[in-house]
Symmetry: C2
Subunit: 329 residues, 2 copies
C-alpha cells in the first residue's frame, strides 16, 4: 500500500501539529510519508515516519503560480510529484491553498475531460450529513458547462465520502424558480436539467446549505468561497458570543453543567472534524486542509485521503465526467 | 408631519401582525397610514389608523415586474404613489421584495445620478454595531461603477442609521490583496480606491462581515443575497441545535437558568430587531421587511423609516452620489 504524502511545512501550526497528526495516522494504521526539509528530524521528533526531502517552502501568502514555478524543490511540488510518480497514493497540505491547487494541477494533471478542478468542502449540518459545497474557491470565474461537471463530481464525492446513494444536487441561486439568478445561473440551470448521472433538484438558496435539504450545492468559486468564509465567521462569532454570555458572573455553574450537552454540536461545527476540503478533478487525491489545522484536523484529513484512495474516488470521477462510449450522450 | 405608508397586506403574517405593528408605532407617536382594501376594518381592528384604499395585492411569489405593471391598484403601487405624491413620508412592506423594489423604482423614481438602487441590510455583530451589507439582492448582475455608488450610499446609510462618523467600507472578495477576486472585483477595487467621500479599506473576506472590522461591505446583489440567506440559515440552524441540546433530559434546569444570559445575544441575532432592509437610491424612503415579519419587526421597521425621514437620508444620498458643482471631481 502506498503512503499518503503529508506536507510537513504547510499551515500556521506546521511543522509540529502537522507531524503530530501524521504520527497519529500512522499509529492508526494508515501509511504516511512526510514531505519536508532533510533536517526535519533534527527539529522535532518524527518517529519512524519516512521523509521525502524538499528544500523549499511556499509561504502561506506567497503568489501561488509564481511559487510553484520558482520553487521546484518545494514541499508542495514534491508531494504532488510523489503522487504522480506512484510513490504516494494521495497528498495533503494545510499550506497555501492556491499553491496546493497549482502543484496538484501542474504535476498530477487533470482527469481527462475535466474542464477545471473544483474545491469541494463539507458544510456541517447538525443532526444530519454535511452538505458538499463546490466550488469553494478554485475558480473565481466559471463557465456554465463547468458547473455541470462540478455537479457530477460533487455527487460522486458525496457518495464516496458520506455514503449518500443518490445525492440531491442544487444550484445555488437567489430564488428557487428556474428563471432566478444571473445569466450564469440561468444557463447552468438549463444544462443541469439535461445532465446525466445527477439528481438535479433545481435552484437552492443560501439557507438550504445548512438545512440538509440537498446533499450537494454547486456554485462558482467566488460565491462558494465567500459563502464558506461567511459561514465559518458566523459560527465562530456565535460560539464566541455564547461562551462570553455563559461565563458571565452567576451563570458559570450552569454553563459548566451544560458543556457536555454542547459537545456533539461543537464538534459537528468544528471544521477540524472534517479534515479539510478535496480538490476534485485532478488525477490523484489531493486534500486541502484549513490553514489553522492542528493534529486532529490533519489526522482526520489523512483518514479522508485514505478512504478516498481505497474507495477509488478518482476512477469514479473519471467515469462521471467521461460518459462511456456505449452511452449515446 | 407626513405619515409612513404601511402595506397592510404584505408578508406571511399579514394583515394581523402588520396592523398590530403599525398600531404600536402610532401609539409610540409615529404617524402611520395603512394601505389596504377598503373593507380592511371589517376584517380586523385597525384602531383609528387612516387608510389608503387599494383593491389589489401582489402575491409573495408573483412575478414582480408583471405584478406591478398589471396591478395598478395594488397596495404596493399605492404605497409608493403616496410617497411620490407627498401624502406619505416613506413606505414599508413585508411583501414581495421584487415587487416592493419595482413599485418604489417605477413610482418614486431614482435619485438623480444613481445607476441602480441597492438593498442595504444590517448584519448583526454581537457586542458591536451591525455591518451594513449591500447589495443584498436588488441587482443580480452589476457593473464596477455601480459598486462605487453602493459604497457611497452604504456609507451614508451607516452614518444615518448607526451613527458611524466615518464608516469603513470593504469590497467583498476572496482574498485581502488588491489582485484577488474575479474581474468585476479587480475593476471595482481600482475605482473604489479613487472614489470620493468614502473610507475604502480594501478587500474583505466573508468572515469579516460578522467581526465588526468594517462598517460597510459592498458586493453584487447575487453574492449579497446568497451570503445574507446563508447567514440567516446558519444562525437559525445553530440556535435550533443549541435549543435541542439544552432541552435534552438532565439539562433543562441549567438551560432555564441560562436563558437570561442568552437573551441579549438572541435579540442581537434576531432579524426582527432591525426591522428590515432599506432600498437605497430611490427618491424616497423604502423599507423592505422580512416576509416572516411580525408586529415587532414592523414596529422596528417603521421606527427606522421615521428616523431615516427625519435624518434626511434621501438628501444625504443625493449629495453623496452627486458631487457638488464646486467639487472638481
Amino acid at each position: 500500500v502506498l503512503p499518503i504524502a503529508v506536507d510537513a511545512m504547510g499551515g500556521d501550526r506546521s511543522p509540529d501539529e502537522i507531524v503530530a497528526g501524521a504520527r497519529q495516522a500512522a499509529a492508526a494504521g494508515i501509511p504516511v510519508v512526510l514531505v519536508g526539509p532533510a533536517d526535519l528530524e533534527s527539529r522535532l521528533d518524527i518517529g519512524d515516519l519516512p521523509l521525502i526531502a524538499a528544500s523549499e517552502i511556499i509561504a502561506m501568502d506567497e503568489d501561488p503560480a509564481g511559487g510553484v514555478r520558482r520553487k521546484k524543490d518545494s514541499t508542495l511540488v514534491r508531494a504532488a510529484e510523489a503522487v504522480r510518480d506512484g510513490r504516494a497514493s494521495a497528498m495533503i497540505s494545510a499550506g497555501n491553498t492556491g499553491a496546493t491547487m497549482a502543484s496538484a494541477l501542474l504535476r498530477m494533471g487533470r482527469i481527462k475531460g475535466v474542464n477545471r478542478p473544483a474545491i469541494a468542502t463539507p458544510i456541517p449540518v447538525p443532526g444530519q450529513l454535511p452538505t458538499v459545497l463546490l466550488d469553494a474557491g478554485a475558480n473565481a470565474e466559471v463557465q456554465p458547462e463547468w458547473l455541470v461537471q462540478f455537479a457530477q463530481m460533487g455527487a460522486v464525492y458525496a457518495r464516496h465520502r458520506f455514503g449518500t446513494p443518490s445525492p440531491k444536487v442544487g444550484l445555488l441561486s437567489i430564488g428557487e424558480e428556474a428563471g432566478k439568478g444571473d445569466s450564469l445561473r440561468k444557463e447552468a440551470f438549463a444544462l443541469l436539467q439535461d445532465a446525466t448521472g445527477i439528481d438535479f433538484v433545481g435552484n437552492v438558496e443560501g439557507r438550504d446549505i445548512t438545512t440538509g435539504e440537498v446533499d450537494v450545492v454547486v456554485t462558482d468559486g467566488f460565491t462558494g468561497n465567500v459563502v464558506l468564509k461567511s459561514l465559518e465567521g458566523a459560527v465562530r462569532m456565535i460560539v464566541k458570543a455564547l461562551l462570553e454570555a455563559m461565563t458571565a458572573d452567576g451563570y458559570r455553574e450552569h454553563a459548566e453543567a451544560l458543556l457536555p450537552a454542547f459537545g456533539p454540536l461543537y464538534s459537528t461545527l468544528d471544521p477540524d472534524t472534517y479534515g479539510g476540503a478535496v480538490l476534485l478533478g485532478v488525477d490523484g487525491v489531493c486534500i486541502i486542509s484549513h490553514g489553522s489545522s492542528g493534529a486532529l484536523a490533519m489526522l482526520n484529513g489523512i483518514k479522508v485521503a485514505d478512504e478516498m484512495v481505497k474507495g477509488g474516488l478518482v476512477d469514479a470521477l473519471r467515469r462521471a465526467v467521461q460518459p462511456s462510449v456505449a452511452d449515446p450522450q
